[in-house]
């Protein structure tokens, strides 16, 4: 296993070479900018260099191959105007090959800082103007938004991989997709369509600010995706899934062993999904029973519950109403005075946390404000404990920053995001959890979520639903989904398995404009009660 920090000789490492240049030259640039711009109080710079190689195949034929090297930067400037008004401005730029030239890169950073500064000044000026025109009480909450202490951490963290994405043979990636896709197509005429895609990527980021932070982190990502449509005897099934690791292509070429997040090799993963989709298409659609029933949900299905019903509402920006116009609020926080902190939200068997320090698709050691990432306990024995936060929201909540502010790319502003967010395991054998059920349903594999505004209610569809009769798994159904009020579902959990698995989530969207982020979610087998939806 090698660890890459992209320290190859200048000239051969392309835009990656700019990271080392900025680690040395960036801090003085930021300090000089703040010194020479009246009112500027703080500046930070994030820069990233990336290399991505992708391939895809459809119905057994090559569909696409792509190789891209990119570089981008994001700067934030804070400045003060008259009357105590403080404004922030942000500039994000994809600089690409500009990063090959130190002079041009420095000029781009200066221009970005100037743009952000201008924006910060306009913002502060307009804030001050509004403060003059409305009663002081209306501006109290703005005045209370205190100073946020910046990070001054310094660190260097390499990427982990055996096979450097930059030297991966493109034909190997393409062949892997083509062969898997061809084998799915050959499964039978029921397979109406299939697509297999693979990606191998290296990213190297640096975070610098005028408080002295200087953090370099590199990441390797490898990801396989499969999408299958099957139609049989009037039935139809559309399934997709992803495998992914923060490793090189070695984790897709063969089965990958990992305690929390193992995956089959790309070929086996894709063909198994093809077989399953074909089988499910031939199954009857679920006719949902009346009322609540016992449901046993598997780790893959629970990954989406952890994502939608724990992870998103645990984002402090959402809880503090900053996302009210977009992705909604949080069922964990009505107001600073009336909320679920320290109160039961589920069964005593229920534990949930986010932990970016674990291996998983959402792994990192520092967030994009330079705060060390650490485990955050959300639910402890059924009692709600706390939120993922940024430095600003931590100050509002009176909590320690826990390193959860992250952007999908350097040109975006950081938002509060999940990392590896999951239900913790219990002590039960999943087979025993099923065997104890007289009549119920075993719900496997997540598909599509729909959640209420504060995530207090959800409907999540499953890839497969099986009947359980007298402790045994029976008939298979397609088009099944679980419908429940979140607190009621969590409170009814009466068994938790010992089979925790993390699942790669490749495309979590949040923000304006939308930022698409990779992370992992998961859990063990759970047993609860819910209504079922059918097709």
């Amino acid at each position: 296993m090698s660890m890459t920090n992209s320290r190859r000789s200048r000239g051969s490492d392309g835009v990656f070479g700019a990271v080392e240049f900025l680690r040395a030259a960036g801090e003085p640039m930021l300090r000089r900018f703040v010194r020479t711009h009246r009112g500027a109080a703080y500046a930070e710079l994030r820069f990233e260099a990336s290399f991505t190689r992708t391939a895809s195949a459809v119905d057994g034929e090559a569909r696409d191959a792509f190789e891209s090297g990119n570089a981008a930067l994001g700067v934030r400037v804070r400045c003060a105007a008259g009357g105590g008004a403080v404004g922030e401005g942000f500039t994000g730029v994809e600089v690409g090959r500009i990063a090959l030239s130190r002079t041009k890169l420095a000029a781009s950073i200066d221009a970005a800082l100037a743009g952000a500064f201008e924006r910060a000044r306009c913002n502060a000026r307009e804030m001050a103007a509004l403060a003059r025109s409305v009663p002081a009480a209306a501006m109290k909450s703005i005045a209370l938004f205190g100073e946020v202490a910046p990070s001054c951490e310094r660190a260097e963290i390499p990427a982990i991989h055996r096979r450097d994405p930059r030297t991966l043979n493109p034909s190997e990636l393409g062949r892997a997709c083509r062969e898997a896709s061809a084998e799915i197509a050959a499964l039978g005429r029921e397979i109406a369509y299939n697509a297999v895609a693979a990606l191998s990527e290296l990213r190297h980021e640096v975070f610098l600010n005028t408080a002295g932070a200087n953090i370099s982190q590199a990441f390797a990502f490898s990801q396989g995706d499969c999408y299958v449509v099957a139609a049989a005897d009037g039935g139809y099934q559309e399934s997709y899934d992803t495998i992914g690791q923060q490793r090189g292509f070695e984790c897709l070429a063969n089965d990958w062993r990992d305690e929390l997040a193992p995956n089959p090799g790309l070929h086996r993963f894709a063909v198994e999904l093809g077989r399953e989709t074909r089988e499910v298409a031939a199954a009857p659609a679920l006719k949902p029973p009346d009322g609540e029933v016992v449901v046993v949900t598997d780790p893959h299905f629970n990954a989406l519950i952890a994502h939608e019903i724990i992870g998103h509402p645990c984002e402090a920006d959402r809880a503090l109403k900053m996302e009210a116009a977009y992705a909604g609020r949080s069922w964990f926080l009505g107001s600073l005075e009336r909320n679920e902190i320290g109160r039961p939200v589920g069964s005593p068997l229920l534990w949930a946390c986010s932990d970016p320090t674990l291996n998983g698709y959402g792994h990192y050691l520092y967030d994009h404000e330079g705060t060390p990432g650490r485990r955050v306990t959300h639910i402890e024995g059924g009692v709600f404990r706390g939120f993922l936060n940024s430095r600003a929201t931590a100050a509002i909540l009176g909590a320690e920053p826990n390193g959860s502010a992250r952007a999908s790319e350097a040109w975006h502003a950081p938002l509060i995001r999940m990392s590896n967010t999951f239900f913790l395991p219990g002590e039960n054998d999943p087979q025993k959890i099923i065997a104890e059920v007289d009549r119920g349903y075993y719900v496997c594999g997540h598909l599509v979520p729909s959640i209420a505004e504060s995530r207090e209610n959800f409907r999540i569809s499953a890839r497969r639903v099986y009947e359980i009769e007298h402790g045994r798994i029976g008939r298979l159904f397609r088009s099944g989904s679980v419908i429940a009020d979140s607190k009621r579902f969590f409170s009814a959990i009466d068994a938790v398995g010992n089979d925790l698995r993390l699942v790669a989530i490749p495309n979590c969207g949040k923000g304006q404009p939308m930022q698409v982020k990779r992370m992992s979610n998961g859990g063990p087998t759970l047993r609860s009660r819910a209504r079922l939806g059918g097709g």
Binding site: F66, R97, R119, C122, M322, G334, L447, V448, S454, P513
Partner: protein
């Protein structure tokens, strides 16, 4: 942003360089320069907030090349370069594209169309929005906050210690320029667009009140007007909807307003109206091309030149003329959104007859009028593939009635003004969807809007056929509606439905 002249000059040079490569049978060059400026509105009365934050600009310039190889008509490669529009960058892109060459037996060659296109100059008003500076955006965003605060003060004479007033949303300005040349064109063609979009939500949590207001436009004048009215409008609407009723779950007669119709079209219908969906066998209208798929009163079209639309495009990202596509005419499925590849792939598919169905014409055609390289910010981007996307989606109704007549026709029921998180719960093809009613909604009694409906009280579980196949009535007047995160604009009328199942959501609040 780069100027049109710079980009045209670069594309011309790049084309000249690629034309000298002996191993290429053809090529195209696509350059884009885009900018997205956003002021996020975030005011909370009881929680410290910045008022306007994440005031930001996101800039992306770059180009992509696609090459077709001389040695094999099915061999093609592509590559993209960010930030650098020089001949050195074209050389690097060419090397990457050669490394990325695949043999795709379905590759139909590069897009073909008119050898020359007339360039339509931008209007002066559009140009003013193209040049709008940060201070205009900052002033408009803070005016939205100020407007809401003034309206709240004027209407809530009694001071509330903790009203839970939230004013959220954003004001976004999206600008892009593109230039395209290639071996199949004699000229370099270009296009540019500038538009703004703003969505504002006001909540007064102590009153369980929620209202929203949105605006889209293409002129500076419209942007300034939006800044002056949106905060006030959202707040007034929220107060009018306070303490909404919470009816028992059941099956209701319902009017779906423009936003819910736009959201259902966006997530459930438009993805099914592409050539690639039929090819992938995942359209909700699979095997029903040429058949009646909606009520005969309904017609749907995509029009990149619609005067009422906020998205104006003259060429596609394949360099072809951007044109109106009729999708559903009087209820009958008659067209699909397509790019060159997807249109060819579907027409050449050995299972085409099965995929389109018996109602399809013997020689169907899917003109590639809808190929766009879209980024996350809905500006055009250099590094995406040209996929099929709509621009201004227009829904019109024959025998439409007034909004008041529509509500009267329902008698007793629910007016759904806003839905949220609408997804194809059992896959696109099944047409089943679920979402929640998130605000701006009413209880209808005696043919009138009688009382507000509590936000987030009902979940809808339905199929698209229940919405579009046999409505009680459709309003005469379509109006603009926004869908968060969507690159398309919608201009749609409200629709009244006879039976819709609504299930109740439990309150999230602590006991």
């Amino acid at each position: 942003m780069r100027t049109t002249a710079d980009m045209r000059g670069f594309v011309r040079e790049a084309c000249a360089m690629l034309a000298r490569q002996r191993d290429l049978a053809g090529f195209d060059v696509y350059a884009s320069s885009s900018e997205h400026r956003v002021a996020r509105i975030n005011y909370t009365s009881d929680i410290p907030a910045r008022g306007v934050e994440e005031f930001k600009s996101l800039d992306a310039d770059g180009f992509a090349i696609r090459i077709a190889m001389a040695h094999d008509p099915h061999a093609t490669g592509n590559a993209a370069i960010a930030g650098d529009m020089t001949i050195g960058a074209v050389r690097e892109a060419l090397e990457r594209a050669r490394r990325a060459v695949i043999v795709d037996p379905h590759f139909p060659g590069l897009p073909r169309g008119p050898k020359r296109l007339r360039t339509i100059p931008a209007s002066a008003e559009k140009s003013r929005l193209m040049g709008a500076k940060d201070e205009i955006l900052a002033a408009a965003a803070w005016r939205i906050v100020g407007g809401a605060l003034a309206a709240f003060r004027a209407r809530m004479k009694l001071a509330m210690p903790r009203p839970g007033l939230v004013i959220g949303g954003d004001l976004s300005l999206i600008r892009d320029r593109i230039a395209i040349g290639g071996s199949n064109f004699d000229d370099v063609r270009n296009d540019e667009s500038a538009r703004f979009a703003s969505s504002v939500t006001a909540l007064v949590e102590a009153l369980n009140a929620k209202g929203s207001a949105t605006a889209m436009g293409v002129t500076l004048e419209e942007l300034n007007r939006a800044g002056a009215r949106l905060g006030r409008e959202a707040l007034i609407r929220a107060l009018a909807l306070r303490h909404g009723e919470r009816p028992r779950h059941g099956t209701f007669r319902v009017v779906m307003g423009p936003q819910p119709i736009a959201e259902i079209l966006n997530y459930m219908v438009v993805p099914s109206l592409t050539a690639s969906a039929f090819q992938a066998a995942n359209s909700a209208y699979q095997g029903r091309f040429g058949e009646l798929v909606m009520d005969e009163r309904i017609s749907l079209a995509d029009d990149p030149g619609a005067p009422a639309g906020s998205i104006h495009r003259t060429i596609t990202c394949e360099g072809l003329p951007a044109e109106r596509t009729e999708l559903v005419r009087h209820g009958r499925l008659c067209g699909l959104l397509a790019n060159t590849y997807d249109a060819h792939r579907l027409l050449a598919d050995e299972r085409r007859a099965e995929k389109l169905g018996a109602g399809a014409p013997a020689e169907p055609a899917f003109p590639p009028h809808s190929a766009y390289r879209m980024g996350e910010s809905s500006a055009r981007r250099f590094d995406g593939h040209p996929g099929a996307a709509a621009t201004n989606l227009l829904m019109t109704a024959g025998a439409g009635v007034s909004d008041a007549e529509l509500i009267r026709a329902v008698g007793d029921g629910i007016y759904v003004g806003r839905v949220w998180y609408t997804y194809p719960i059992n896959g696109q093809r099944a047409g089943d969807f679920t979402c929640t009613i998130s605000g701006d909604s009413y209880v209808i009694r005696g043919g009138r809007l009688a009382a507000p409906l509590a936000p987030n009280h009902f979940r809808i579980n339905a199929n698209i056929s229940e919405i579009f196949s046999n409505p009680i009535g459709i309003a005469r007047r379509p109006r603009p509606a926004m869908v968060w995160g969507s690159p398309e604009a919608y201009i749609v009328p409200p629709v009244a439905i006879d039976k819709l199942a609504l299930s109740a959501i439990a309150s999230a609040e602590s006991d």
